[in-house]
Amino acid sequence: MIRVALRGLAGRKLRASLTAFAIVLGVAMVSGTFVLTDTMNGAFDSIISQSYKNADVVVSGKTAFDTDTNGNAVQAPSFPETLLPKVRALPDVKAAAGSLTDNKTKLVGRDGKLVGGHGAPNLAFSVEPRSDQRFNPLVLTSGRWPSGAKEVAIDSGTAGNKHYKVGDTIGIQTRGPVQQFRVVGVVKLPGVSIGGATMSVFDIPTAQMLFHRQGRLDVIRVQAKSGVPTPKLLSEVRAILPSTVQARDVAAQEKRDKKTVNFTSFIQYFLLAFAGIALFVGSFVIANTLSITIAQRVREFATLRTLGATRRQILRAVVIEALVIGTLGSVTGLFLVLGLAKGLNALFKVLGFDLPTAATVFKERTVIVSLLVGIVITLLASLRPALRATRVPPIAAVREGAILPPGRFARLTPILSLITLVLGVLLLGYGVLGHGLSTANRLGSLGFGIVLLFFGVSANASRLVRPLASVLGWPATRIGGTAGVLARDNTMRNTKRTASTASALMIGLALVTFVAILGQGIRSSFESAVDDLLRSDYALTSTDTFTPLSVSDERALAKAPNVTAISGVRAGSARILGKTDNLTGVAPNMAQVIHLRWKQGSAAVPSQLGSDGAFVDHKYAKKNHLTIGSPINIETPSRDRFTVLVKGIFKLPNGGSPFGPVTISNANFDAHYPSPENEMVFVKVRGGVTDANTATLEHQVKGFADAKVQTASQFKTNFEKPLNKILILLYVLLLLSVIVSLFGIVNTLVLTVFERTREIGMLRAVGMTRRQTRSMIRHESVVTSLIGGALGMAVGFFLALLVTHALSSEGIVFAVPWLTLLGFVLATVVVGVIAAIFPARRAAGLNVLAALQYE
């Protein structure tokens, strides 16, 4: 029987490989995700361990917390450089070197624009040019180490991309306008690409001056004399450290550093979720394709039964087929993976998330998990068709045109489908609207609810096929004539088959529709919040809108003659009431540029904050039981602790505000943060927005390559850019499952053409042209995919309605991006047309005589 199954499969190579294709993409996505994130982790690990080359003990300033609310590492406070000679003087120290690092020092190209950006870090380091570089992770590819003011070494990536070589001049911008430096060396980290990041290297005095850390160091790397155990060295070093500075052995230091790059696990989960969706869609396609092939093989199964095959043997034969198909698809997916991992990385790069990479990491786990997932999903999907196959009675062997008998629970199917649908809706409703659910419970009922919803819609869809096909098939009958009419009627012939083919596409479309509507909701609530809050003419932000700007940019802009009010919003992270959060600062004149609605206090609050005042938003106040006069304890990353008192509570607008939960005065902020930064600066000018005013402001910050002057409306659209990027990323990732469902349509059509060979021969015999035959198949494909699209959009609408309702307290409104949805409809038509290419060609290529005699 195994042989029968395998031979059968070999005899239906095309069908088998079409079926296998349904999981190839999903499996490739799973393994691609693993390869990509493993490779990134490998790169980060290698960067981290290289940076402590030859060091046994690392000395650094103590921080209150390691990462900010975005998961980025906070800059540790510096310490006096006088510590270095003391460390060097310790008896067991063989060598020690001090260094500085900074992530605010940017390279500026010849065009006056920042090199890199898009959120990739701008790294800056110090070197001791005359030392033996034993601790230096960087290697020179040309030139020499910088020595003295106005000398820099840059990374080989920048040198290559921007055509810099030793002897050229490059702009450096840090806490002030751009300065010109001479490139004296080009460096790289051996064995690792640093992605979109840039590096600049200075000697220690220059670094201290640029980073505003005169006379100070960030890190001391210490090497023990040979034979000295690290713990001994560690306790010697610790004995001489002031209380604000710590020493760790290199293993502990690496462990701590690796904690700050754990975002790769987020990327992994994120991508795996989309792989899961593609596999889910794939399982629909496999179940459908197998159902059709089994229906076409009723006589074969019946014959086997008359020859003495048991039901169990039939079940086994089908399951073995599925096993082979699953293995085939999974292995192919695994092979595709290297390409896909590169593709994913390229996608991230295009969207501005350029991440470090090193040698591709292909772990055993990747192979095992991918194969297992692909095979198990195929097997699960094959179970129902396989059980149906066992129901074929032996007598079907002698009946002409025998059809697959209904399943044992066929009578219950309509009720079960309805129950599934209702259960799915209820679970979703519970997950979205239920009060006081734990996150795990909420996510669990949401995930389960969505899966049930998809199953439910798919199971009930066969009843909607007729009405949908007659509406959506109308254009086909107009355009295609008789071929179009036949095509529409063909989709109604086997409503179950059409429904399950369309259902695969439904899933992808439901999700893109959901994403599009949700995105539009976020966008419009953000826009209305900006319209509500913003009273300024212009805003100054960094060129990528999000990276904070040094306060020197604001100071420069303040000198513009047309400015009537300028108000910067400081931002930084802090531990507030025991939790890491964003702390913001405002100028006394804030009320002139931003209009807040005050629940307690008045518009005068920002001007009255002084050195101990703060205002908070009403949600934060409610959550933490804060009223006017409540004290708030704040600790900066450098462990600077202070207390402020609540002086005002404002109503947080639905679309958010520029402020963190707690806002203090800029004066107070600057007193506690060593290099304060603005997240944005609002400006009012005489005469409002005019070209002349714009030009004046731009001229004023010309020396600041990292800053961008924009009008209030430009500011709005700039802030939406990252949202749009995320939407595009989601669309591209969901496209994968749409492609999988496209394969599903191809499968169904190929099998249908195969099944209707005689009929097509007859149509051709009575005068249907090849062109008409092709058009008939194409229209059938388009009508099927439009049915999937219609179902999907309806489900997407429903999901979006549910979620926006649940998020209405967060200010997300239900807004429909009609143009985008129209685009989806067109995309659905395109999917149908593409899916039909191959089956239509097969149908048109049939030999009329042979087709008529086909049995």
């Binding site: 029987m1 195994i2 029968v4 059968g8 086997l304 003495g308 043997q313 032996p394």
Partner: protein
Amino acid sequence: MSETIAMPAVAAAEPAPTGPVVSAKDLTRRYGEGDTAVDALRGVSLEVPSGQLTAVMGPSGSGKSTLMHILAGLDQPTSGEVAIAGINISKLGDSDLTKLRRRHIGFIFQFFNLLPMLTAEENVLLPLSIAGEKPDPKWVMELLGRIGLTDRRAHRPAELSGGQQQRVAIGRALVSKPTIVFADEPTGNLDSTTSGEILELMRSSVDAYGQTTVMVTHEPRAAAIADRILFLDDGLIVKELGRSEAHDVISVMEELAGS
């Protein structure tokens, strides 16, 4: 797939070689309900003796196919009982019926029902491989020789003529030496020359191996090879002949059509 299943207790008792291989009592079969009900069989009793070729003749709609389906355990009678090799099959469940088929029944179909992906030899051996039994090479050689496909054993059905395909099917029905072979219009899909060859082959297998065979046909020429001919009309056995010439069969048929 090697699937050896324990023989059921009912099948363990070997049938007496001289007793009837198949016996049916008062078989009725009604399709549908109420006004639209059709009685395909209206009380048929018969016995098939061992080692003979029995033909069931009748015009279309006479109930002859229904009778064969019920005798072979493919369909259930509305009332009445069927025993094969002494086993009452009317009350057997699916798995006991499957065991019965493996041991006692061979099938020959009008449309051959060969598996297209298997070679001629593999198709012949299929019942054994389904049952997980090892073929006896001598028997297989002998059988392939008898069906005349020794040199075409590696061909697939698509590469064989209709007659050759039906020869493969006959080989498949004989390979497990079943107690009885049921043939459903074995020549119904073949031209007359080929039909003659196939009938000759069937007759010779009865003569050479004593293979008990029941054949349903509407062709007098086919019935003429039988040891015994049962005439069915309107759901009842109306006449029985011994070995007869084709023209005798034709005259009985004409008689039936005229009545």
